[in-house]
């Protein structure tokens, strides 16, 4: 006989299939309702209300990402913080508001810096909680007042200055960084460098602090820190206030810092991180130029600002020297312009102005494609060439007279 499959068995399969369908639908629903969609639709409403002539069609849609390859950073903060670079949204609440210091973008372009390099937080993440980074295993949370108020609820320290000083480390004082500036002043006045190596030089009595900010939390001894905040920042604050309490036997002098000053100093030492991987373009105050001897600097200045500056500016000096103005061509491919009137007359049977306005040969190509001068500029050139010619002629006459005198 052939047995039939019991209906119970089919029912079980049906239940299992329904279960699979249910978890599948649940997964799809879980994935398709992220918070940022709400923030983007709200932003649309806000822009429609606040900004005249706004083209709603050009508003960003979907996940926004700033990828700063040079800093090895991916920031998706602008997915929700949509108004950062807008004008006219200053009094809107977070996350849609304009950046409180919009001028910051003038020399910190958003696409070159992103957000987290200054503010901390988890740039990868898209949900508020994860992105602000107050989560387990994320070591750089958002450096907002919320983080600061853990240490001083009434007057939270501006912790983001730690990040600012990663690049601005070597500056004496930086606009908009009061805490770090005051801490740097302490470093200068309290003689820290007598005992510690700081930014490359100092004494050897205490530990080298050049990359103190890189020291991991696991590397600190918290056993003498009595506090709810078992953090490196708090360790530094308490240590600045009373070194022997935190490190028994420490010979570092107690300087009676107010908590505000101790916070500033703690921020400063935490900002001292290894900047070897930081692209030099991000370091302010570091000149990206070839070194020159003083004589070279002087000659360069003479050429750029002397009487012959016109010919340097328009690149004539690439081929032509101009003795009269002390301009030396690196190539000397063409004749000296001081002698141009004679030279042009001899070779083309033209005056200088005739030649400049109607050139022939190589100069025709150059003046038509590479060095295009306006009529006004051409007159200027003629005038300066004639002047140079006079100078050279005068010099020659003087020299002749001197020679005649000598003989």
């Amino acid at each position: 006989m052939i047995k039939k499959i019991p209906q119970r068995e089919i029912l079980l399969v049906l239940i299992a299939a329904v279960a699979l369908l249910a978890v599948g639908v649940a997964a799809i629903m879980y994935d398709t309702g992220p918070d940022w969609k709400y923030y983007q639709s709200e932003f649309r409403t806000i822009v429609a209300e606040r900004v005249a002539n706004a083209d709603l069609a050009t508003l960003p849609v979907g996940i926004q990402q700033i990828w700063v390859e040079k800093l090895d950073r991916v920031d998706r903060c602008t997915t929700c913080h949509l108004g950062m670079t807008w004008k006219g949204l200053e009094d809107v609440e977070q996350p849609w508001t304009t950046h409180p210091i919009p001028e910051i973008f003038d020399d910190h372009r958003l696409e070159n810096f992103g957000c987290t390099v200054c503010h901390g937080g988890q740039g990868f993440a898209l949900s508020e909680y994860d992105a602000h980074g107050f989560v387990e295993h994320w070591e750089r949370p958002l450096l907002s007042d919320i983080a600061g108020s853990e240490y001083d609820p009434r007057n939270p320290p501006p912790l983001h200055e730690i990040q600012c000083n990663y690049c601005h480390r070597y500056e004496r004082s930086t606009r908009g960084m009061p805490f770090i500036n005051s801490a740097k002043e302490f470093v200068r006045t309290k003689g820290c460098k007598i005992c510690h190596v700081i930014n490359g030089d100092g004494g050897k009595l205490g530990p080298d602090l050049t990359s103190e900010g890189d020291k991991h939390a696991e590397g600190f001894d918290f056993s003498n820190l009595v506090s709810d905040q078992i953090t490196v920042f708090n360790w530094h604050i308490k240590h600045f206030q009373s070194p022997p309490t935190i490190v028994p036997g420490s010979i570092m002098p107690e300087m009676n810092f107010q908590s505000h000053d101790a916070q500033a100093l703690a921020m400063l030492v935490m900002s001292w991180r290894d900047d070897e991987d930081l692209p030099r373009a991000y370091l302010p105050g570091v000149e990206l130029k070839d070194e020159m001897t003083p004589e070279e600097v002087e000659r360069d200045l003479r050429m750029r600002e002397g009487d012959g500056a016109f010919f340097v500016e328009h690149n004539c000096f690439v081929c032509h020297s101009i003795k009269a103005y002390d301009i030396k061509s690196p190539t000397d491919k063409g004749p000296d312009l001081s002698l141009a009137p004679d030279d042009v007359r001899a070779r083309f049977n033209k005056t200088v102005e005739e030649f400049l306005f109607d050139p022939t040969g190589t100069m025709k190509i150059i003046l038509e494609s590479q060095i295009v001068l306006t009529d006004e500029e051409k007159w200027q050139a003629v005038e300066k060439i004639m002047k140079a010619y006079d100078i050279v002629k005068n010099r020659a006459a003087e020299a002749e007279a001197a020679a005649a005198d000598g003989s």
Partner: protein, 498 residues
């Protein structure tokens, strides 16, 4: 004409096949590749949930889930030390369903490790590694294949553990590969061969990646196919031996012998179809199609649904990016190695080398040591077997807790403060005590019952509970500095930068 062809093709696609008789059902199976997977008929004893709990089937389905999610993850993961962690962060944050893929792959991997252990426990406890007396099957060999699959599964899980390239991964693999380094003489060479260098770096990542995504899955798939094919060759689940006994009692003739088939010498035995018609009949069996197929469908749907359901609630952890300069405290190996890590804490040689070797070798040798053929396919063989199982379980519980207590309360180095010899502590430590206690019990039970099977059951049950307890100890009760913490004790606050 064309319409007829289309209709014909449609019929073939929807396959509305209704066999008219048993014979037609049987020949249909012979003709169809898909139906070939299973034998024509399947014993009702085999089909019962209690026979196998379908643990092997579930394991294989979980492996398929891992394969499918793994292939998709391969498109999304970048095996470079600079980008690996990023790509995992992207999976968790921006890739649509990336979180699901990652959680599903992870939870399935843990499930698979747990399931192969459970499957092995089942096969042992039901005595399913025995050849049987009526048709000498190759089940002992299939048990060895099974132990191989256990090792392959552990290796797959271990190699996958490194790939997220976070602190958890980095240090678990550091600890795990250092357990391998405890092997005398060649240990360090093995470790460096695994790592492709002296420390974990890009060469390690690419080694583990290729092993995890290509080599090990292919080997595991091949061995698993062999393992499953052998089940068919051996006539189905071991409980079929009972059907054979019944058949022999009804009709006392030896099974028909036919030509010897062999596939590249892999197959053994005298007949390609062990399920001779005299064993399976209308009363004790049903056609595989639809009975077994519907059952497998049920198990598949349930397994996938449960895995996805678990992924909805269980998050996949991702710690800070791997940092060779900072060791998290505590640094732990993957959970299935934490029993070993606990014992390595007593003695690297004993816990890391001798005991694992004895366990793996012992497991492989079980069917060749225990050759008694009674009660095949029945849990704990019979009544006394169940008694000895409970005894072994309790004995293992008491001895393991005792040894753990010694390790915690009276470490060997405190008892013998004057001895400096490492060899002494390699030989005298709680792990050795446990090994000796279990070996001693085996011989005592063997002498008392004169049954290798009862002795094996008692020892195996003791082994199971010891494994569970040691793993629990390493996972839940060991905190920073490998200090002991009760479950209700909070670990000290983890310091952070801000």
């Amino acid at each position: 004409m064309n319409l007829f062809k289309i209709q014909d093709m449609w019929q073939k696609l929807i396959w509305p096949w209704r066999p008219e008789s048993n014979r037609e059902a049987g020949s249909g199976i012979v003709a169809n590749f898909l139906l070939h997977w299973f034998p024509n008929r399947v014993s009702l004893r085999s089909l019962a949930f209690s026979a196998s709990l379908y643990l092997g089937t579930i394991t294989f389905i979980v492996f398929l889930v891992l394969t499918v999610t793994g292939v998709v993850l391969m498109f999304l993961y970048i095996p470079s030390v600079e980008r690996a962690y990023w790509s995992i962060k992207d999976l968790d944050n921006t890739v649509s369903f990336g979180w699901l893929l990652r959680r599903l792959h992870r939870i399935s991997a843990h499930l698979m490790v747990a399931l192969v252990f459970l499957h092995m426990f089942r096969v042992f406890l039901t005595g399913s590694y025995k050849a049987g007396e009526i048709v000498r099957s190759a089940r002992p060999f299939n048990w060895v294949l099974g132990v191989t699959l256990l090792v392959l599964t552990l290796l797959l899980s271990f190699t996958g553990y490194l790939l997220p390239w976070d602190q958890l991964a980095f240090w678990a693999i550091t600890v795990g590969t250092n357990i391998a380094a405890a092997v005398p003489l060649v240990g360090e060479a093995i470790r460096q061969f695994l790592l492709g260098g002296t420390i974990i770096g890009q060469p390690t990542l690419i080694r583990f990646y290729v092993l995890h995504c290509a080599l090990l899955p292919i080997v595991l798939f091949a061995v698993a196919a062999w393992h499953m094919w052998r089940i068919r060759k051996d006539g189905g689940l071991a409980i079929v031996e009972q059907d054979r006994k019944d058949a022999l009692a009804r009709e006392p003739v030896a099974p028909k012998k036919s030509k010897t088939y062999s596939v590249l010498g892999i197959a053994s035995g005298t007949t390609v179809q062990v399920n001779d018609p005299t064993t399976l009949n209308e009363d004790n069996s049903v056609p595989s199609t639809p009975f077994l197929i519907v059952r497998i469908l049920l198990i598949t749907l349930l397994t996938v649904a449960v895995s996805i359901g678990l992924s909805l609630v269980v998050q996949a952890p991702l710690e800070a990016a791997a940092n060779p300069e900072v060791t998290p405290n505590p640094a732990k190996a993957p959970w299935y190695f934490l029993g070993l890590q606990e014992m390595v804490g007593y003695s690297a040689l004993m816990g890391g080398v001798i005991i694992p070797t004895i366990v793996i070798l012992g497991l492989m040798l079980i069917p060749f040591l225990d050759r008694e053929q009674k009660g095949i396919g029945f849990w704990f063989t019979d009544g006394p077997g169940r008694k000895w199982g409970i005894f072994g379980f309790l004995y293992g519980l008491v001895t393991t807790v005792g040894c753990l207590a010694i390790a915690l309360l009276a470490p060997m180095r405190d008892i013998f403060p004057t001895i400096e010899s490492q060899l002494f502590f390699d030989l005298v430590n709680p792990a050795t005590f446990l090994l000796l206690l279990f070996a001693g019990m085996y011989f005592v039970v063997l002498k008392k019952t004169s049954s290798t099977r009862y002795a094996a059951i008692a020892t195996f049950c003791a082994f199971i509970i010891a494994f569970v307890l040691l793993t629990y100890m390493g996972t839940a009760l060991r905190g920073p500095n490998w200090d002991f913490y009760w479950p209700w004790q909070a670990w000290p606050t983890h310091p952070t930068a801000l």
